[in-house]
């Protein structure tokens, strides 16, 4: 995987090669690839001259540093009680129907992954979700189908 090697190198150039650079580098990989593969972790370990176990241990601690393959767009639906009270379960059902996958799965074309997450900080405008880094709030089934339709068509 020469591309991963190149990416890790670029990120190390930008963030440095010490322990403190590890998190920014891993975050950089997720921004580009949506998840961190075993190969990527080994590359990071080599580049930063540390053990791969250390890289793995750090990456797996953080819920946004996915180490399993993810789609191009990772959807994280907030599951905190306040979003739940505003109809989160209905939104989840809409998302599952639209994407034809269940919670935790990735679509066959590797475009979408559907996950739940803890409080996103939009409790006054629930239900809320993130698609990669962008927040969508006050969701309704209609709004969700519009948003997902737009991603399917235009992105």
């Amino acid at each position: 995987m020469p591309e991963i090697k190149e990416l890790v190198k670029q990120l190390a150039e930008r963030h440095g090669r010490n322990r403190e650079s590890l998190l920014p580098i891993l975050q950089g990989i997720v921004t580009e690839e949506r998840s961190i593969s075993d190969v990527a972790m080994t590359e990071v370990a080599k580049e930063l001259d540390m053990s791969a176990a250390l890289v793995y241990g750090t990456a797996t601690f953080y819920s946004f540093l996915d180490t399993e393959p993810r789609g191009k767009y990772v959807i994280r639906l907030c599951k905190t009680i306040t979003c739940d009270m505003k109809g989160k379960r209905q939104i989840l059902k809409s998302l599952e129907d639209l994407l034809k996958i269940e919670l935790g799965e990735t679509t066959k074309d590797k475009k979408f992954t559907l996950l739940e997450t803890n409080c996103l900080g939009w409790c006054h405008k629930g239900p809320a979700m993130l698609i990669n880094d962008d927040a969508y709030t006050e969701l309704t089934p209609e709004k969700v189908s519009e948003i997902i339709g737009d991603y399917m068509k235009n992105k």
Partner: protein, 387 residues
């Protein structure tokens, strides 16, 4: 009985254009004068724990180290809290200016904002605000630089020592305390770590003076506080209110007329049932909060609320210490078993004992505070846990 009534205040979100003058003024003042102001104001940390801000600054300023840091804790993860996002969106320059004043007092040249991964979308605007800020401090001839570090979706990183670990590129596992951050924080150097809101209040105290700030609130809870109000309320949102009001006043203003309970302080806070609204003061002498206020009306099952909280803790526990790691799992399994009828109702008492044990044995605030919501919900809504 509380003697304060609900009163809206406008300190935090007031005009940002004062930053230049206040900062220029403060940089000319002596460190002792600024410290005295913050100490006299009675300001306590707005993240939830409520440690006196002035003391934090004072202790750090007394350390004889070359390298010191100011860290802004923007890892707002407590369920039901969203005030820091609003503050960073609307008045970032006030946050940065608060950090600069702190840096002057303690003798730091570098500051960091640790921003939660969920708020990555704020980054662009924050960088712009940072550019303006850096131009301003340069113009004022003050040597101070702020960098932003991102979190990656771990609630426990809001705990100060876990946050330092994360900034150092490690797993966000809380450290043993002492030593406290004022002696050994980021990179094991003396560090002041303040919540976003605390930094803005520190800045505002430099602007309006300790006396004016002190006039607000009560003896234990000086000043005002930004509340994040959500749940069964027709007017969910962000409100800055004077501290010390009764929960009854609060519910009258924000409730939907059918409020049966308010969770004060998020998943790690206390659940107050209707019959106790009147005698509950919102503040450090009563029920403190980092800002999260979730209202529940009588259509809600408090079992579902508790289960949601316990699941949250089980997921977010860092797993480092046994009381929290195993305790959270057992609390979740326990309430499920009682609900299903696999365990007798009396088993809830055993679970409460477990939660109390976690309070005294868990390593950090996360595990220690599970008992707050657990016991207050089980005590006050016992029958809802069983039937």
């Amino acid at each position: 009985m509380p003697d304060k009534r609900l009163k809206r205040v406008d300190l935090i979100f007031s005009d940002e254009s004062v930053c230049r003058d206040v900062l220029a003024d403060s940089l000319k003042k002596s460190n002792d004068d600024i410290l005295k102001g913050i100490l006299d104001s009675g300001l306590r940390g707005r993240g939830g724990a409520g440690f006196p801000t002035g003391l934090k600054w004072k202790f750090t300023s007394q350390e004889k180290e070359e390298e010191k840091y100011v860290v802004c804790n923007a890892d707002e993860g407590e369920p039901g809290t969203f005030k820091d996002r609003e503050i960073l969106t609307k008045v970032p320059l006030k946050v940065f200016s608060g950090m600069a004043i702190c840096a002057k007092v303690i003798g730091a040249k570098k500051g960091f904002v640790y921003l939660r991964g969920e708020y990555q979308f704020l980054r662009k605007e924050l960088n712009k605000a940072l550019d303006n800020f850096h131009a301003l401090v340069k113009e004022l001839g003050f040597d101070f630089e702020i960098k932003i570090r991102m979190g990656s979706g771990a609630y426990v990183c809001g705990e100060e020592s876990a946050l330092f670990e994360s900034m150092e590129g490690k797993r966000g596992e809380p450290r043993n305390k002492p030593p406290y951050p004022t002696i050994s924080g980021f990179r094991n150097k003396p560090t002041v770590i303040n919540n976003v809101e605390t930094l803005v209040y520190s800045f505002m105290i430099c602007r309006i003076g300790a006396k004016k700030f002190q006039e607000l609130g009560t003896a234990d809870s000086r000043g005002s506080k930004v509340f994040s109000i959500s749940g069964d309320t027709p007017i969910a949102g962000i409100y800055e209110l004077e501290l010390g009001m009764s929960l009854e006043d609060f519910v009258e203003e924000f409730g939907d007329g059918d409020t049966k309970a308010v969770q004060v302080g998020g998943a790690s806070g206390l659940c107050v049932p209707r019959k106790k609204f009147k005698d509950t003061i919102i503040g450090f002498e009563g029920v403190p909060t980092g800002g999260s206020m979730m209202l529940f009306n009588s259509s809600r099952s408090m079992y579902n609320v508790l289960k949601n909280y316990v699941e949250f803790f089980e997921e977010e526990s860092c797993g480092q210490c046994t009381p929290c790691r195993v305790g959270c799992q057992q609390l979740k399994l326990g309430i499920e078993s009682v609900k299903k009828g696999d365990k007798p109702a009396s088993y809830l008492k055993t679970l409460q004992k477990l939660a109390e044990t976690m309070k005294v044995t868990a390593k950090c605030g996360l595990g220690q505070s599970v008992a707050n919501s657990f016991s207050s919900i089980v005590d006050n809504f016992n029958e809802e846990m069983i039937y």
